[in-house]
């Protein structure tokens, strides 16, 4: 039984990894690079309060 479970573990692992790579590739095709790397460092709400 463990042999089957081990093969299943290999297969599920490969499937998950391939799904992530495929999704990442799809996202990179659909969105521009400028959009994907557009994030900016967060600002603490304490600082925002002080500035307002």
């Amino acid at each position: 039984m463990w042999d089957i479970l081990e093969w299943a573990a290999w297969a599920v692992s490969a499937a998950i990894f391939l799904w992530m790579v495929y999704d990442a590739w799809q996202v990179s095709q659909k969105y521009s690079e400028d959009t994907l790397i557009s994030s900016r460092e967060g600002v603490d709400e304490l600082v925002e309060k002080k500035g307002s």
Binding site: V12, I16, A24, S32, T35, L36, I37, R40, G42
Partner: protein
């Protein structure tokens, strides 16, 4: 926002989601560390005996309390992913920040590799103990656990850390239940401290050597800072999550030591070939419930640690990419899940290679050394932070007391611990230092020219004093 496709002008920013609260911060910090209560710390008993380990546990507990206090103050103000990397960028400079970023990525990726390796071994050990038949190979379980956790991280930070909260809570609960199960109010019945505790077998040098492995009790609590950009209220959630986290760990460390050395001879605890001393204690307690519950607790602690490490390593890598310390390609945020998806995927094969091909002790030593280098940076960071922006010049979510005492104590304890590591792993320590020196040269000569210098300083603070 997520609909911004190729061809459209003026892309809106896709940022990491601010969805986390103090509970998630606690789950991240304690989740990464708690596995150290289930295994690894016991080698400190091998170095210094049971009482030597207790002393080392207190000393290193003090080191990490200083870490938690310092981190809580600075990160409550520097609300950016990357944690100590972002702090270094603001308080010291690019070269320090680059090194700190690498310390973080290595510390967490190596710990993650060690954690999933442990998961693989535990599946074998637990299946053999509880069902009578065990799988032949541990590798499939290493890979499966790593992939499921990576997938969870890829799909979103809220679910990742909510899961981490529950499995960490169950693991912590298993320690409490074990403590109650061995009837500490009835000394001599199950717990035999009077018979088992000895003097310091290797004297005070053994206690010093034990500092290296006592780090396991707390290694990774500083990981709470990596959540800074994704918490709803950094000024409140980060100090609250970090301080309650270190308190939880100090309690868990005390209970763990008390139970383990009260049931097993120090020679066995110190060189435990069965990997997990608390699980061994549960096995010999005679209770099937404790046996099963501690297996679950041990397994969950390793999974929670790997989960938190994937989160933290990817945030540090992502932040360095965003500042162009690394290729900016790594700074991409998933438009739907709002996670640093390329950084998560990129670090998976590295963790797999270390998990499958490098012995556990080596992997963990790499992690500890990188962690120690990070802690050594913290006192310098704190001094610079308070000198450049004294109290009152910027709003802090938390102000730690007695400055500069915690920073001075932290620096002194880091030096003592480096010496302890040098006693046992001198070659690895020197190799690691060499690696960071070579990496620094690469950064200065080949990489820094790509960094947009004016963009690095992102916090809207006043000009620092003296500038």
């Amino acid at each position: 926002m997520a609909d911004q496709a190729i061809g459209q002008s003026r892309p809106q920013a896709i940022n990491l989601l601010k969805v986390l609260g103090p509970v998630h911060v606690w789950a991240l910090g304690v989740g990464i560390v708690l596995v150290g209560e289930f295994m690894g710390w016991n080698y400190a008993v091998g170095k210094g005996g049971a009482l030597g380990c207790l002393i080392a546990m207190w000393v290193i507990g003090l080191l990490y309390t200083c870490v938690a206090m310092i981190d809580s103050e600075i990160t409550s103000t520097v609300a950016a992913a990357g944690g100590q990397y972002a702090q270094a960028k603001h308080t010291i400079g690019p070269l320090m920040a680059f090194n700190v970023g690498l310390y973080l990525v290595f510390a967490y990726t190596m710990l993650e590799a060690g954690d999933v390796q442990v998961v693989g071994y535990l599946v074998q050990i637990g299946a053999g103990d509880l069902t009578g038949s065990a799988p032949t190979n541990w590798q499939p379980w290493v890979l499966l656990s790593l992939m499921i956790l990576a997938w969870l991280n890829y799909r979103g930070v809220f679910m990742t850390l909510t899961v981490n909260f529950w499995i960490t809570f169950i693991a912590f609960l298993s320690i409490i239940v074990l403590f109650i199960g061995v009837e500490p109010w009835n000394p001599g019945k199950i717990l035999l401290h009077k018979d088992l505790l000895t003097d310091l077998p290797y004297g005070w040098l053994g206690v010093l050597a034990a500092l290296h492995f006592a780090i396991w009790f707390y290694l990774g609590i500083e990981g709470t800072c990596q959540a800074a950009e994704e918490v709803r209220s950094p000024g409140r959630a980060l100090p609250l999550g970090t301080i309650t986290g270190i308190i939880t760990l100090l309690i868990a460390a005390g209970l763990t030591w008390y139970v383990a050395v009260g049931l097993l001879p120090w020679e066995y605890v110190g060189w435990d070939l069965e990997l997990a001393p608390l699980y061994d204690v549960a096995k010999i307690s005679g209770s099937k419930f404790l046996h099963i519950f501690l297996f679950i607790g041990t397994l969950f602690s390793a999974i929670a640690s790997a989960n938190g490490c994937i989160n933290d390593a990817s945030r540090a890598w992502f932040s360095m990419g965003r500042d162009r310390y690394l290729p900016v390609w790594f700074a991409a945020v998933h438009p739907k899940y709002r996670t640093p998806f390329r950084s998560i995927i990129f670090l998976i094969p590295i963790a797999i290679i270390f998990a499958l091909y490098v012995p556990l002790a080596q992997v963990i030593t790499f992690s500890i050394l990188s962690g120690l280098l990070n802690y050594t940076f913290m006192p310098i960071n704190m001094w610079k932070f308070r000198r450049k922006w004294p109290l009152g010049t910027i709003i802090r979510g938390f102000e730690h007391p007695f400055h500069p005492l915690p920073a001075a104590v932290l620096l002194a304890l880091c030096i003592a611990t480096f010496f302890a590591v040098y006693l046992g792993y001198g070659h690895q320590l020197l190799a690691m230092m060499l690696f960071y020196i070579v990496a620094s040269i690469w950064f200065v000569v080949f990489r820094y020219k790509y960094v947009r210098r004016a963009d690095q300083f992102t916090m809207p603070w006043p000009r620092p004093q003296g500038y």
